[in-house]
């Protein structure tokens, strides 16, 4: 289906070759995962397949690529539209129509499919992706997961032979991600569709894929079955790390396989779940809060929420897409309209805090860290933050340096990796020394390494520095690693609250892999499992 023969790609003005002299083949009906560190070139390889690179983006390409027997060096992406469907990283930017149904039909209209055939295809694909109830809804009002499904539907409706997806589950909650992936799995099995997708959260996809292409970042890549690659890869999901820790001969790819293969772990008793300590000073107090969506006249996003966040703890806010997590975080910085109730940060109403007063009480890192950045270079951003917060010159930069390996100071914030951008936004916020830090979905687009760094940073902020951290996230593995306490929102209401192990283990969909693999232990992270196993020896 896809044939790369001696392909090299380099972007102009760049020192690094993305791939060099690479040859591989993907067969019809295969489900292939593209993985690699952030910035390794996953998106580039994906877009090479349908010719968007280099036809649309520029870049110097040598070698030949053919898709379904057609050469991409001769044909432009548009001429491959009938055999290749692609779903970009940010579907919201790529929608053409207002209404779900029209957006799906648009792909068929450009191909000139007859209207009666079109009707049938649209109906089929609406059913396939469970979009029928949403067909006449306005796309801009849909949740991230629903938008992702619309984008997949619009790519699938043309009956392509090959579907390319760039991080399709990064914005989705665990349940929605599972839905999307099982739909893809079904399409591969039932219709013989070939799927290539890139993804950071391996724990979600690895059980579904046949083969993995690992992009090393030095121009080479490794292609093998999922098990082969997982045996030695430096990037691995918790389940694989757990299997490695247990010295298992075969590497399991799903929880089910793990349970079949794993050695028996005898425990005298379950590890006790430690209740979170509630001694710190209350930094965020929310009482009887009801709030509306910022940009919609829909009903309440939050209703009658009560919570306290104390100094020194990391609290994770979880729940499905559209449960009101972002609205709650926005209320904490006074950005969302409050209908009823009261929000106080260190005793002040955040909506009343002006200018530097706000950031001295609470720092907010939005979903897209870029939303906080608007300078032309890293150093400009840092200097601006020093001036805004009235701190010594260079303070922000030294915070940034203490957090992580920082990129070239003159690079544009848009050009650095997701992890570095998040670090920059966080440093800007931290330079004002707010006692409370709020992060909205910080791990989107982060690889495992960047996530580890983030976990260390957050633990330090809460532990040594004694601040309170509130994060909203879909990433259960992150929550398992970093959170002391979990709050669970559903449909705007707070439905569960407790220590991380308690809350996560109580919900099958939100349980981390270690908890699913070893349900009798109450362990939630690989570290914890290793610690206990070592202690037993």
């Amino acid at each position: 289906m896809i044939n790369f023969s001696k392909v090299s790609l380099i972007y102009p003005n760049s020192q690094r070759t993305i791939i060099e002299d690479v040859s591989f083949e993907v067969n019809e009906g295969e489900f292939v995962l593209l993985m690699g560190h952030t910035g390794a070139g996953k998106s580039s390889v994906l877009r090479l397949i349908n010719g968007l690179v280099p036809h649309h983006t520029g870049g110097i390409l040598s070698g030949s690529i053919s898709v379904a027997g057609r050469s991409t060096s001769v044909l432009k992406p548009g001429e491959l539209a009938d055999v290749v469907g692609i779903v970009g990283q940010n579907p919201a930017n790529t929608f053409v129509s207002e209404i779900v149904e029209d957006e799906i039909a648009f792909s068929l209209e450009t191909l000139g499919i007859a209207p009666d055939v079109m009707r049938k295809r649209v109906e089929e694909v609406l059913d396939l992706l469970a979009l029928t109830p949403l067909r006449r809804r306005n796309i801009s009002e849909l949740s991230g997961g629903e938008q992702q499904r619309v984008a997949i539907a619009a790519a699938l409706v043309t009956n392509p032979k090959l579907l390319l997806l760039d991080e399709p589950t990064s914005a989705l909650d665990p349940i929605a991600a599972e839905e999307v992936l099982s739909i893809l799995h079904r399409l591969v099995h039932d219709l013989g569709l070939t799927v290539v997708l890139s993804e950071h959260r391996l724990e979600r996809v690895i059980q579904f894929v046949d083969r993995i292409i690992l992009i090393n970042g030095d121009g080479s890549l490794v292609l093998g079955t999922a098990e082969e690659v997982m045996r030695s890869s430096s990037i691995a999901p918790p389940l694989v790390e757990l299997a490695r820790a247990l010295n298992m001969p075969t590497i399991p790819l799903s929880v089910r396989e793990f349970r079949k293969l794993a050695p028996k772990i005898e425990l005298a008793q379950k590890t006790a779940v430690v209740a979170s300590d509630s001694s710190g000073e209350v930094l965020l107090s929310i009482r009887n809060l009801s709030a509306a969506y910022q940009d919609s006249q829909r009903t309440y996003a939050l209703s009658k929420v009560d919570l306290d966040i104390r100094a020194g703890e990391v609290v994770a806010l979880m729940g499905r897409n559209g449960a009101g997590k972002t609205t709650l975080l926005k209320c904490a910085v006074g950005l969302a309209p409050i209908i009823e109730g009261r929000v106080q940060v260190s005793g002040n109403d955040p909506a009343q805090l002006k200018g530097p007063e706000l950031i001295r009480n609470v720092g907010y890192v939005p979903q897209e860290p870029t939303d906080l950045l608007y300078g032309q270079s890293i150093v400009e951003e840092c200097n601006q933050a020093d001036r805004d917060n009235n701190v010594d010159e260079g303070s922000t930069l030294s915070i940034y340096k203490s957090l992580m390996q920082i990129p070239n100071l003159s690079s544009h914030p848009r050009d650095v990796s997701e992890g570095q951008r998040l670090g920059l936004a966080l440093s800007i916020i931290l330079s004002a020394q707010p006692p409370l830090i709020v992060l909205d979905e910080p791990t989107r687009g982060l690889d495992y390494q960047a996530k580890k760094t983030l976990v260390q940073i957050l633990k330090r902020i809460a532990g040594k520095e004694g601040r309170a951290v509130l994060i909203s996230t879909h990433d259960v593995e992150l929550v398992a690693e970093v959170a002391d306490r979990v709050l669970f929102l559903a449909d705007g209401e707070l439905i569960a609250e407790g220590s991380t192990a308690q809350v996560l283990n109580a919900s099958p969909a939100f349980a981390p892999q270690v908890a699913k693999a070893l349900p009798h232990t109450n362990w939630i992270t690989v570290n914890e499992a290793e610690r206990h196993l070592d202690a037993q020896k």
Binding site: V96, E101, Y374, Q384
Partner: protein
């Protein structure tokens, strides 16, 4: 269940553009401040009537500010620079002597009632035209033009979409940057900070446009000679009804030109509002 059509402002994708052209032609050929003021009042009323949550709706309030700036600027220029105009002097500004080859042009000097009248006329006309097109721009989904323009020409479709999305996207980016400034604890909003706003706004627009172009390209837009329609936007009765007001005005102006301009302005205000009734 709402119909798909009713979800947008309820009209054909080209409706507001036709409405804008008709209204602006009337404003232009009448060239009277009463008419322009009526047009401004009309657009403001319609903007209030068709409020919505989509991101492109928010551009109107920004262009409203722009129109206000344009108006003020035009008035100032009118006071300061121009060809001397005889008439009743209201007040006199200090005049700067210009070299001989710029004969007939003055800087400062007497401001006459006639001059004030003429400047006010032009400034309101300018503001009215800006607002009429800003309203059309903010009430139609910028992407909907793709549906009605000829499909064979990839470039035309893409260019028109990018052109009509500039204002709405800029409005969205301005909101984003303002929130960022608040979250970073900045309070000033001087000229210097406006320069800092412009860059990210341009970058945002560029990024969105590139994403959209990539999406159109990989979906084969403009590559296949025969295109078909799933549900073509139909010019409906309500579209014609909505346009009947400004169209009637244009016709009546061409037929009878001796109507008093105050009466015409009142008429204009109400007839501009026909879209509100037709919906």
């Amino acid at each position: 269940m709402k119909t798909a059509h009713a979800q947008s402002s309820g009209f054909h994708p080209l409706f507001w553009w036709v409405w804008a052209v008709l209204s602006s032609v009337v404003v232009l050929i009448m060239d009277k401040s009463q008419i322009s003021l009526a047009a401004i009042a009309g657009t403001l009323t319609l903007a209030a009537r068709f409020k919505g949550s989509s991101y492109w709706r928010t551009s109107f309030k920004w262009i409203l500010r722009l129109a206000l700036i344009a108006f003020t600027f035009r008035m100032l220029i009118g006071f300061l620079i121009g060809v001397p105009m005889p008439g009743t002097v209201i007040f006199t500004l200090p005049q700067i002597q210009l070299p001989d080859f710029l004969v007939g042009i003055r800087l400062g000097g007497q401001v006459t009632e006639q001059r004030l009248q003429a400047t006010f006329n032009e400034a309101t006309l300018l503001a009215a035209l800006i607002l009429i097109f800003a309203l059309a721009n903010s009430l139609s989904n910028p992407h909907s033009l793709l549906k009605v323009l000829p499909r064979r020409f990839y470039g035309i479709g893409l260019a028109s979409v990018i052109a009509t999305s500039v204002a709405p996207q800029a409005a969205r980016s301005i909101t984003r940057v303002r929130i960022a400034k608040r979250l970073r604890g900045q309070s000033g909003a001087g000229l210097k900070s406006w320069r800092r706003v412009a860059m990210p706004v341009l970058e945002d627009s560029l990024e969105r446009s590139i994403d959209l172009a990539a999406s159109l390209e990989s979906r084969g837009y403009g590559y296949f000679p025969e295109t078909t329609r799933y549900r073509a936007p139909i010019w409906q009765l309500r579209d014609s009804l909505g346009l009947s007001g400004p169209a009637y005005l244009l016709a009546s102006f061409l037929l009878l030109s001796s109507i008093s301009s105050l009466l015409f302005a009142a008429l204009f205000f109400f007839l501009m509002l026909t879209p509100a009734v037709a919906k």
